[in-house]
């Protein structure tokens, strides 16, 4: 039997010709007008430290194939954790049950050349360090946190690395492979002083090997940052409550864009008319200071992909340009149904999940103001620098994000740190209140994970310093 030229299939009995044959059977079944096969082989490891010792290590393997058959707006889906012709055939039969009648289609020929992108090296992070080196890295982070601050009572450090190899073959002729490395290091510390206990956290990651954490003392910087945040909170006062001017710091606070506009611009919600942004292309949804993009093509970044999970090369999509709504994030299904094309945003958590439009790295382009100038312009307000994450109701447009590090601004100066508080606003409205955009665009450190309909995918966010004239701050102090 002819072996496949793709390494992901090399141990199976599935040849290249078989891919076309299985897809051919799917689309020759009446009414199926699109179909794809998604093969995945991944492994994942994690190591964790607490009480100054590395207590746990885990290694897991995940592999399988997902078969999708589409008929108009209908999708049939089945998968198997076995990569074999028998399992593939069985899953195909189950998936095509979505349609019983209609036009028959044929498979387009696969191109001989694949995506030109090479945004990250096909390394296996697990092999980039020995087990001893991984343990040593965790211990060095713990030691740094404890060295810096005697009031540290607990340090928890987690190191995770994975490599995911995928192969997508679709009846429309798309054929793509990608090898996706991903690493992440996170630190959490508890400090205690005069009976008060506070927590601080930091971390980072990228599509690289573990050596990344040793460059520029990155891992130690995470420890320093976690300690800084925890100690700062020991002196924090109650956060204010009510509507006020809010200045968001550069970088991770870009989670605002992810929640307030990003999700609302995903194609599925707009095709179905369930998003507060539906039907608003060409309308003003932000001040002219604001240009927001989703860019999956940034080298080595956590949210980047050479190709999405439907085999479409990723791209930089402008969502909002100078305040005007320009475009949606699409996968193939929703792009086609809305009369357009995929924007390379079709993503899925694994072979066992269906793809849907998802963000990659979402950020706002820099504006003209100096950071200090923005702070100085505020009489009374909140300066929020770090966030624990957010959530949005895409239909009503209401979104929240929870500040974990924030300060009062009084008379143009940053004064006291305040306790954590949730900020709430209305997605289609909040960017119309952005009066100043900083010139200091920063992307996050690479720890973001986005959840949608039960599926998690790694993403990135970023922004320059932003001034929002009015946003509701959920503190306890009037």
């Amino acid at each position: 039997m002819a072996k496949s030229s793709h390494s992901i299939l090399s141990l199976s009995d599935i040849s290249d010709a078989e891919l076309s044959k299985v897809l051919g059977k799917l689309v020759s079944h009446g009414g199926i007008d699109a179909a794809d096969l998604y093969f995945q082989k991944s492994h994942y490891e994690s190591w964790s430290l607490e009480d100054s010792i590395v207590k746990q290590g885990n290694f897991s393997i995940e592999q399988g194939v997902g078969v999708r058959a589409i008929s108009g707006e209908k999708t049939g889906f089945a998968y198997s954790d076995e990569i074999s012709l028998k399992a593939l055939t069985r899953a195909s039969k189950a998936a095509r049950a979505i349609s019983r009648q209609g036009q028959k289609h044929s498979v387009n020929a696969f191109p001989s050349k694949h995506s030109k992108f090479h945004l990250y090296d096909a390394v296996d992070p697990v092999d980039t360090f020995t087990a001893e080196e991984k343990v040593k890295l965790l211990e060095s982070v713990d030691a740094e946190a404890r060295r810096l601050e005697p009031r540290v009572t607990q340090v928890m450090v987690g190191l995770a690395g994975e490599r995911s190899s995928i192969l997508v073959a679709a009846a429309d002729g798309a054929l793509a492979t990608d090898v996706r490395p991903l690493v992440r290091l996170s630190v959490s510390v508890i400090v205690e002083s005069n009976g008060r206990r506070e927590q601080g956290g930091a971390g980072g990651g990228a599509r690289v090997g573990y050596g990344y954490f040793l460059e520029d003392e990155r891992a130690l910087e995470y420890a320093r940052e976690a300690v800084r945040q925890a100690v700062l909170k020991l002196d924090a006062v109650d956060a204010p409550a009510g509507a006020m001017t809010v200045v968001l710091g550069a970088g991770w606070p870009g989670v605002l864009l992810h929640e307030a506009v990003g999700h609302g611009l995903e194609g599925d919600f707009n095709r179905k008319g369930s998003s507060a942004f539906a039907g608003r292309i060409g309308e003003r949804v932000a001040t002219s200071e604001c240009t927001v993009v989703d860019d999956g093509t940034l080298a080595n970044r956590r949210g980047s992909l050479n190709v999405d999970d439907e085999g479409t090369p990723t791209q930089c999509t402008t969502l909002i340009e100078n305040g005007v709504l320009k475009g949606y994030l699409q996968d193939k299904l929703n792009g086609r149904l809305m009369g357009g094309a995929s924007t390379g945003n079709g993503r899925r958590e694994s072979y066992a999940h269906l793809p849907m439009p998802r963000m990659t790295n979402t950020y706002m382009l820099p504006g003209k103001y100096e950071h200090d100038e923005i702070i100085a312009s505020v009489d009374r307000g909140l300066y929020a620098v770090n966030f624990a994450g957010g959530q949005v109701d895409i239909t009503s447009g209401k979104f929240v994000f929870s500040a974990s590090e924030a300060y009062l601004i009084e008379n143009g100066k940053i004064t006291q740190p305040v306790r954590g508080a949730t900020l709430i606003g209305n997605g289609p409205e909040v960017l119309t209140k952005v009066s100043m955009v900083g010139n200091n665009l920063k992307l996050d450190e690479g720890v973001g994970t986005c959840g949608k309909e039960g599926q998690s995918v790694p993403v990135g966010v970023g922004q320059p310093t932003l001034k929002i004239d009015e946003l509701t701050v959920g503190g306890t102090n009037v």
């Binding site: 190591w47 607490e50 010792i53 590395v54 207590k55 746990q56 290590g57 885990n58 290694f59 897991s60 393997i61 995940e62 707006e73 209908k74 999708t75 889906f77 089945a78 998968y79 198997s80 954790d81 899953a91 189950a94 998936a95 979505i98 087990a131 343990v135 009572t153 928890m156 508890i190 205690e192 206990r197 927590q199 956060a239 409550a241 009510g242 509507a243 369930s274 269906l354 624990a388 957010g390 959530q391 949005v392 109701d393 239909t395 009503s396 209401k398 979104f399 929240v400 994000f401 929870s402 306790r419 954590g420 949730t422 900020l423 709430i424 209305n426 509701t472 959920g474 503190g475 306890t476």
Partner: protein, 448 residues
């Protein structure tokens, strides 16, 4: 009864034989101790939208995870491949990892005497013989009922039916091997309403182990529509202090934060505002919280926890006082206590219901905010600080006045718990936490 069917017997035997094999391989490889857990889940989910099928998904997920202990060091690995070759590889990988993790005096299996050597049959398995076509029809019926409830229901996010059957097995080198089957079925619907150019969405669902006990499809659809309509024309309210009534669904989350704060891992790390709270009065003295892991067909029921430890009915809070933490064997050893059978979580956590029904609770609230939705992660278990986005209804004279949105509610969990005024008897039975609505004397609302 389906529980004794040959299929169930065969499946349990098959999984238990994988466990036995893995334990044998681990022992041979020189491990001091080992434990294996295995799960297999298969199911069907169908979603429809605007009267047409949208997705038909066939699920089959399985996984095996093994932990190996050698000289008090441990390593774990997992795989979805149950072949002998894959199991041998997984054992080897776990053993290799254990060479590099540190010696931890507290690590190890649960105590021999705590294991569920004789565990009860809890009737958790009721397979639903439903075809994709039948499931589609049921979902269409549910959605149709929602769409015709009110002309302001203008769009649909669809209705879905899902049916899952799972088998779980656990074994360890003390010689314990146990397994049990379970099913879960659900029907849900989400629709969108529009009035004065603004849209709102809400949903309703029903979930049970036995499909015969699911709420009627039309009822689920109508509930989803009624809840959506009730939210239309929601407005902000001004910043103020106010009494807050958490709906039963939101109360379950509130009680969940308490469980998170008395969870062994938060306690031994000193990462909780309830460190050393055993014997302390945290709730008002009329409040009782208990765990009932053996409720027949209960959604949270389990005969043993994820370390094989016997699950038992027990009081967690008695007369407002914390009587017991939530511990697995590791946290128990760290805290010099005994496992409470909570490796993997609590099972059917119950808050003793009070006398008032939903309208009685609204009367008790009199004037304040009824919270029916919470957003975001603004809960800090280390300090107890609580600040979340909220939506719900403004209540005056014990009657709902208008829907509210785009506000936050904030306080500190310790104060919130001690300031609980009443618990309703409007208990939500659809999940692992069974509680009625909870009324809190005062919290800060931030709005316009």
């Amino acid at each position: 009864m389906a529980n004794n069917s040959n299929h169930v017997k065969k499946k349990r035997k098959e999984l238990e034989s994988h466990v036995a094999l893995a334990l044998k391989v681990a022992k041979k490889s020189g491990a001091d101790f080992a434990e294996i857990s295995l799960a297999e889940d298969n199911g069907l989910s169908v979603s429809v939208r605007n009267g047409e099928i949208e997705t038909l998904e066939n699920h089959l997920d399985k996984g095996l995870s093994i932990t190996v202990y050698k000289n008090q060091s441990k390593g774990s690995s997992s795989t979805s491949d149950f072949s002998e070759k894959a199991i041998r590889q997984a054992v080897k990988t776990a053993a290799d990892i254990a060479k590099f993790t540190a010696k931890d005096d507290y690590s190890g299996l649960a105590d021999y005497d705590d294991l569920a050597w004789d565990y009860p049959e809890l009737s958790l398995y009721y397979p639903w013989d439903i075809s994709a076509e039948e499931a589609t029809d049921l979902a269409i019926e549910c959605e149709a009922a929602a769409l015709k409830t009110d002309k302001r229901i203008v769009n649909s996010e669809g209705a879905s039916v899902s049916s899952h059957a799972s088998f779980r097995a656990y074994g360890n080198s003390h010689g314990f091997v146990g397994s049990f089957p379970a099913t879960s079925h659900s029907l849900s619907c989400a629709v969108i309403g529009k009035d004065n150019d603004a849209m709102q969405r809400d949903y309703w669902y029903t979930a049970t182990r036995d499909s015969h006990l699911l709420e009627n499809a039309k009822h689920v659809g109508k509930q989803a529509a009624k809840r959506t309509i009730a939210r239309l024309n929601a407005r902000k309210i001004s910043t103020m202090k106010s009494p807050i009534l958490f709906s039963p669904e939101m109360s379950a989350g509130l009680i969940g934060h308490f469980i998170g704060a008395i969870h062994g891992s938060s306690l031994y790390r000193n990462a909780s505002f309830l460190v050393d709270s055993l014997g302390e009065k945290i709730f008002p003295d009329w409040m009782h919280i208990y765990e009932q892991p053996h409720i027949i067909s209960g959604l949270g029921s389990a005969p043993f926890d994820s370390e094989g430890v016997t699950t038992r009915s027990r009081n967690i809070v008695e007369q407002g006082i914390v009587k017991s933490y939530v511990l697995d064997s590791y946290a128990a050893r760290k805290l010099k206590l005994s496992s409470t059978g909570n490796a993997g979580g609590v099972h059917n956590l119950c808050v003793e219901p009070g006398k008032l029904d939903h309208s009685g609770m609204l009367k008790a609230l009199d004037k304040g905010l009824l919270v029916t939705e919470l957003m975001g992660q603004g809960i800090n278990i280390v300090t107890g600080d609580y600040s979340r986005g909220a939506a719900g209804f403004w209540v005056e004279n014990g009657k709902i006045q208008f829907p509210v949105e785009e506000i936050t509610i904030a306080g500190n969990l310790k104060d919130m718990f001690s300031n609980i005024v009443a618990v309703g008897n409007d208990v939500d039975l659809r999940g692992n936490t069974r509680t009625g609505s909870i009324l809190i004397e005062e919290m800060m609302i931030a709005g316009g």
